[in-house]
Amino acid sequence: MNYRSQLVAAWLGIAATLIMFIGLWPLMHFLPPLKPGLGQAELAAIYRGNATGIITGGILQMLACSIFMLYFSALALQLKRMEAAPLWTYTLLLTSVLGFVPVLVAEMLFSAAAYRPDRPDEIIQAFSDLGFFLFVGPALPGAMQMLSVAFAVLGDRNAEPVFPRWVGYFSVWTAVLALPGAVVTLFKAGPFAWNGVLAFWVAAIAFGLWINVTFWATRRALLIQMKSSAA
């Protein structure tokens, strides 16, 4: 059994989160995200002035998305042990892609905005808007992803549950906390805008916590599997 590979894949989830952070903050300077109400000229100046940072940060986002897929596959394999038929396993796989494709497209849009400094300001702004919509907005696929884990864990009928039950409840709560991101298209300021405390910060922290908790649970489960297969 390739438990060792799965363990590496689990660690890649932590790595991917770090890579996302490095791309977002020191490189793109999008932490905090640019204010929706920022003036067009100021915004365009940011893209022109930090083009290389934004584009390189974007590449790191693409890298993070790609290796996140390994993490979610390892997580899916644990879910598969909880169910007789892989319903939530498949839902996790589907929603993991559905949730991260927008991040991929977003970084391409940020890069497109930075690509030609001589573009008119309003096109740069349109690309930037779309980028932030796609980066922060897809809270519903993300919540569905967390709920898949929740339902699988809470429906686990094994004598020795694969994950502790609280991980299931925890996943429900991170899913709920992540939801405000969905409404960012309706706002240009306030807590529900794409840079807002509820739609961005609370949701991002919820996601980060969820990755860490599911990583811990996956690693623990794998170590138990490795020990019992060696016994």
């Binding site: 042990r81 094994n158 706002f187 509820l198």
Partner: protein, 196 residues
Amino acid sequence: MDAEQQGAVKRRAGHVPGEEGVWVLIMGDMLVFSIFFATYLIYRAQNVVLYTSSQLSMQRGFGLLNTVLLLTSSWFVALAVSEARAGGRERAMRLLLGAFACGIGFVVSKAFEWGGKIQAGITLNSNEFYIFYYMLTGIHLLHVLIGLIVLGYLIARSRRPDPGASYVLVMEGGGAFWHLVDLLWIVLFALLYLVR
């Protein structure tokens, strides 16, 4: 050995999530709303003048009506749950119908309240206070709608000649959720309509 390999022998007997899960749900919902309320208060503290002047448009009549409707419905639900415990499922069902009607009344009242404001030109992004007003009452309204679905299920269950072994548990759980919806409204009412 995998879950599948362990087979039927070692599987725990299935249990209705019922009480335990519902309380985790309720605690968590209160936590999330606490975060919302705290955010509101922090934003308000930084712009008190805007908030107090906007709050002048809050119609206390609507707020009071909503509060009375939800308190009444909660009372009906509490009575229904105790009827269920005592085996009076038909009376429980009628009480639940009363609660359901109050819930519908709340939704209709909300439609009029929002409708009136929108007609007057007060919309989602009119100012920061109104962002909170529409979003918080909107998220609460979503909970009321979910609560109505829960009540509907409880009503259907109560109508069955044999509502099943977990009937009381389900009534208690559903009732607890409805009380949460009521409690959240009371806090919202105080924050948005009363505190000036």
